[in-house]
Amino acid sequence: MTALLRADGIAKAFGGVQALSGCTLEVSRGSVAGLIGPNGSGKTTLFNVITGYERADAGEVTLGGEVITNAPPDKIFARGIGRTFQLTRIFARLTVLENMLVPARRQAAGRWRNPLAGAGLRAGSPERRRAMELLDFTGIAGHAGALAGSLSYGQRKLLELACVLMADPAVILLDEPAGGVNPPLAERIAERIRELNAGGTTFLIVEHNMEFVMGLCSRVTVMDSGAVITAGPPGIIRNDPRVLGAYLGGGLEDGESGDDATAP
């Protein structure tokens, strides 16, 4: 298996705080990779560096062999990396359907584009059809006409995921997809990730819910204090003493989250 997404020796400091130091992470093409670690270990910062929201002080990010280090977020999205946020971010004053159309891409590259071309809201437009399919897929099609701001927290998570899917990204980075959602919904999200993965989408998932991570990921990377401490298949990671140590000595038993962050 080849590495589709690779972060190599990433370092990032905020003032005097070294948030990341020499982080190296690989995500194989077609895999579901996990990224775990205690709060403050730098997982989200690494996400932010990969997706262009933060500049790396050192290191290199490559996607399919091409260097994308410190490219702006819109370019990185166009290259095929989509992401969701730990605290869901949606366009609250747009309808759910409008949210879906924000990332819609036109295939008409090179042709002159009408600056006032419709947003794709017209019934029967290909964008709208695709958006409705994805809303169906995530189970929130019934809310298409509602303002996104009126959705519940779990529905927002689903909308955020569906929205990213509009552009068919090669890699999707999920920041705590199961954080703060009820167990049946977490299971539904896991189910959708499996289906998408079966269709060829690669995932990198930050999650505190160990059951969720261990059940879904083929390879787990563990971070602590801004550095990667180990990586491997879930079965081995689960029993790695360094991982147990990183989680303040707490055991990583099935179903028990690594810390209190997942308490809704």
Partner: protein, 374 residues
């Protein structure tokens, strides 16, 4: 065509017909002059809304374009010795000058957001007022006079009225087109969460700058027309902080980000202001009342007349449909997402609190280091 669309189209035609008939029915020049100012401000407020209303970047510097448009046609008419009807041919110059100014202005100001953006626009505004006082070609504090138009006094206002009406109607049509377009959707996504929009492939700078320039072009045009009508311009009247506040209040009163809101606000506020100024001669009264109105709008009607009104209508229709359940068909989930009267869906005030919940870009990762390394 659905019945709703026919009603809407008929309503728009009726409004346009009424607006066109206005100076023929009310021939008193004082009244028609109110009409001219109201239409000029409807265009200016609509232009402000195309940028600030849709993108959420509140500009208090649009007077830069208004004043520059006025000065551009004033200087050109003076230096090229133009007179009579030909001076109206200079109006595109007002638009062009405003467009040229908007690009560097936007490239600087649009790098920052929210309060900082507002402060930058105010700063640029004062720079332009100072330049108008001090440049050799602007006539200093005595300003410029417009070429004399040898028209009959009784109908003098009418050509101005119709040009201004066309500008206001054109601006509104453009706002409608933009709001339903992909460009408009990107602007509104930027308003809600610019960083998230970026992460979904929207390039904010070109989108914001395009809207800023469109807004500037219309405002410059309005400024040029205003100058011909008022026949003279000085730095404090061309670059007037009250202009910026007025168009913002107009948009807020009618409904920021809606298509008809700013026009409605302009038609309500501008004649009122003119009447107060003329009736009490003390110009400060209308300004004080404008400030009071701003506070009242923010307190009582924060989203404006149009969204609040359409919510009432939606609620009324829902009640009616409950009484006659058979009539409730035809409003599927996707309805109300089109550009139509914005806010037509049941938009409970959810937007407000939801916005506050949105976090800043996660800067995380730091802080929990210390001694736990394996």
């Amino acid at each position: 065509m659905t019945a709703g669309a026919m009603w809407r189209g008929g309503g728009i035609l009726a409004l346009l017909a009424a607006a066109a008939a206005f100076p023929l029915v009310f021939t008193n020049p004082l009244v028609t002059s109110y009409g001219v100012y109201a239409m000029i401000f409807a265009a200016a407020a609509g232009a402000w809304n195309i940028f600030s209303g849709f993108s959420g970047y509140i500009s208090l510097g649009n007077a830069v374009f208004f004043g520059s448009g006025a000065y551009a046609v004033g200087i050109a008419a003076r230096d090229w010795h133009m007179s009579g009807l030909a001076v109206f041919g200079l109006l595109p110059l007002a638009a062009a000058v405003a467009a040229v100014i908007s690009v560097p202005f936007g490239l600087v100001a649009l790098r920052v957001r929210r309060h900082t953006f507002i402060v930058v626009t105010i700063a640029v505004f004062f720079i332009f007022q100072l330049m108008a006082y001090n440049f050799p070609f602007t006539g200093g504090s005595s300003g410029l006079s417009a070429p004399f138009l040898n028209w009959r006094a009784a109908t003098y206002n009418n050509p101005f009225y119709y040009i201004a009406l066309a500008a206001a109607a054109g601006t509104t049509a453009l706002a409608w087109l933009i709001r339903r377009s992909r460009f408009g959707l990107q602007l509104r996504a930027i308003r809600d969460d610019e960083d998230r929009a970026r992460g979904l492939g929207v390039r904010p700078m070109p989108v914001k700058l395009a809207a800023f320039t469109v807004s500037a072009i219309i405002t410059g045009l309005a400024g040029g027309l205003w100058f011909y009508f008022i026949t003279q311009v000085q730095p404090p009247s061309a670059f007037d902080p009250l202009f910026d506040l007025s168009i913002a209040v107009m948009a807020f009163l009618g409904g920021v980000g809606t298509v008809p809101g700013p026009v409605l606000g302009a038609l309500l506020i501008e004649p009122g202001q003119l009447y107060l100024t003329q009736r009490f001669t003390n110009g400060y009264l209308s300004e004080i009342l404008l400030g009071v109105l701003f506070l009242l709008v923010i307190l009582l009607l924060p989203r404006g007349i149009i969204p609040a009104g359409s919510e009432k209508i939606t609620a009324w229709r829902a009640r009616r449909d409950r009484r006659a359940p058979a009539g409730a068909a035809g409003r599927d989930a996707g309805a109300g997402t089109a550009a139509g009267p914005p806010g037509a869906t049941a938009q409970a005030a959810a937007a407000g609190p939801a916005e506050r919940r949105q976090p800043p870009p996660p800067g995380g990762g730091a802080g929990a280091a210390g001694g736990r390394a394996p």
